[in-house]
Amino acid sequence: MHSVKLEKLDKYRWIIKPAEAMRVPGIIYASEDMIEDITRDNAHIQVANVAQMPGIIKASLAMPDIHWGYGFPIGGCAAFDIKEGVISPGGVGYDINCGVRLLRTDLTREDIERRIRELIGALFNNIPTGVGSRGDLRLTIEEEKMVLKKGARWAVEKGFGYPEDLERIEENGAMDGADPNAVSQRALERGREQLGTAGSGNHFVEIGYVEEIYDEKVAEVFGLRLNQITVLIHTGSRGFGYQVCDDYLKILSQYVKKTGITLPDKQLACSYFDSPEGQNYYRAMICAVNYAFANRQMITHWTRETFEKVLRMSPSDLNMKLVYDVAHNVAKVETHTVDGKPRKVIVHRKGATRAFPAGHPDVPKIYRDVGQPVLIPGDMGRCSYVLVGTEKAMEETFGTTCHGAGRVLSRTQAIKSAKGRSIKQELEDKGIIVLSQDRETLAEEMSDAYKDVSKVVDVVHLAGISRKVAKIRPLGCIKG
C-alpha cells in the first residue's frame, strides 16, 4: 500500500481512489500546503488502510489536522454499518473521550489581567496535573462503577457543579449503554485514583479571552462576547481509558485471527459491531466516555472554586458557565442519511469532533436554533477556536470536523529544537503564563511542534463542514 496516490478533488478535498483491498475511497480535507506534512508521516496510507475495513460506508475520512496515529490516523473519521461493519479501539484511540470543555465568565480581560499569575498558581495547586497524577479522591470500586454509568451526572450529584451544566455536555454528560462488567479489574484499578486529574502530555487547563468574533448571532447564543474571560479544559479518561483500549486490542486481535478478517495493520484490530466482542468493547468504551465526562466536571468545579477564592467573588458574580463539552476520541451509534436513506451507523471519531447542525435533536435545546458548539484547542502559544456545526458536515462527513492543531514535530525533535531555549520565558514574552510539572513537557508541547490551528480551522470553515464563531487567545495555562 505504499503507492497510495492523492488526487485533488476540489479546493479543500483530496481523494484516494479505491485500489487493491480498499472498499471505499479515502477523502482528506486539507489545503495544498498541508499535503507535504501529511504524506511525510504516512498518515494518508492510514486513511487508505481504514478504507479496507469491513462494512465501512461512503469513505474513510480525515480532517486537516490529520497526523499519524496507531492504526487509524489522528483526525480520522469512519462510519461502519451496524450489522455488517466493525468497531475498532484503534478508531477511538487510547485516551477514550479525550475532549474539550469551554467555560465562560462575566469577567473581562481588564478585570483580571494583573491577576493571571496568581490564578494560574492557584489552579496549579488545586487541580492535580502531571505524570501519573493521582487525585485526593479514593473511590471504592463500587463507587467507581457508578461513575462509569452516570458520568458527569455522578459528579454533579456529589456536589461538583450544577445540574444545568449537564445539558451543555455532549450526551448530557453520560452516554447510555455503559456496562462496568465489560471492564477489566485492571482498568478499574488504574482508574480509581486518577479521577479528577488532568494528566500529562497535551492536556491542560487554560485561561483565555475572546479576541475575535466571526458570527455575532451565534456567539450571542453561545454566551460569548469580546474580551470575555474563558477557561478551556482539555483532558480525557486517564489510565482508565488506556487500560480499556489495551485490554480490547488484545481481545480483538484474537478475534481477528479467529474470524479471518484481513487487516493491513495489527493496530486496526476490530470486531463486528454486532458480535459479543464488539458489544463488550462498545460498552466498556462507554464506561470510559462517562469517566472522562465526570473528570472534566470535577476539574470544572475546582476551577470555579479557584476563581471564586482568588478573586473573592461569589458564584453568581463570577457566573462561570459551561459553553459546551465535546468528545474528540469516541465511537457512537448515530443515524445518518446514506444514499438518500436514513441509516444507523457506528461513527468513529479519533481526533475529530462531532459538528451537528441547527435543528438536530442531539443539539441541546438552548443551541438548537444555531447548531452545536465545536471547540478546537490550539497549542500553548497561539489560539483556540469556537466553531458551529453545519448541514454540510451531515452531508459530507457524518457530522464531523477537526479537533485541534495536529503535531508536526515528534516529541524528541521538539525537545531537540527547544535545547538552550526557555519555552516558559518565550511564552511569558508573549503574555502567556505557563506552569508545568516539568520542563520537558513544555518543550514537547511548544508551538513549533504543532500545525498552526488557524490554518486547520480555515480549511474546515472554507470547506463548510463547520463555521467559525469566535477566537480565543490564551493568557495562562497549567500543563501536565
Binding site: 496507531y70 501519573g132 488506556y242 515528534s410
Partner: protein
Amino acid sequence: MKNYEFFDHTADLGVIFYGKDPSDLFQNAAFGLFDIMLEIKEGGERGETNAYKITVEGDDWEDLFVNWLGELIYSFYGRHIVLRRLWIEKIDKRSIEGIMYCEAFNPRYHRIKKEIKAATYHQVEVRREGDLWIGKVVFDI
C-alpha cells in the same frame, strides 16, 4: 553499553532494547522501561521489596514482548510497584515466567520522569542479529 536507545517517532516514543539472549533482552527491557519512567532521587532511602510472580503469554516473540511491557506498565500504574530485581525462570516465544522483586512507589525517592501509558504493536520487532537480541517497540505517552 546502554541496554536501550530511542528512535524518532512523530506521535510517541520509540525504544530499541538489546540483550544477549531472549531472557537478557526481556530483563533489560523491563529495567529500561522503569529507567525511562522513573528517576531515583539521590540519597533517598529505598523501600523493602516484596516478591511477585509474573507470567505473560503471547502468540510469538513480538506479541510476548508487547504483553510483557504492558504487564509491567500495569504493575506500576495499577499496583504502584517499582521493579528492583527480576529473576526470569522460563522463557520461550509463547510465554515468560519469573519473579519480580519490587518496592512500593514512594514520591520521596521516586520521581516520575515520563508517563508511559501503553506499549503498542506498531512496528514492534524482536529479532536476533548475530550475538545480539533486539526488541523494538513504540510506547504511547
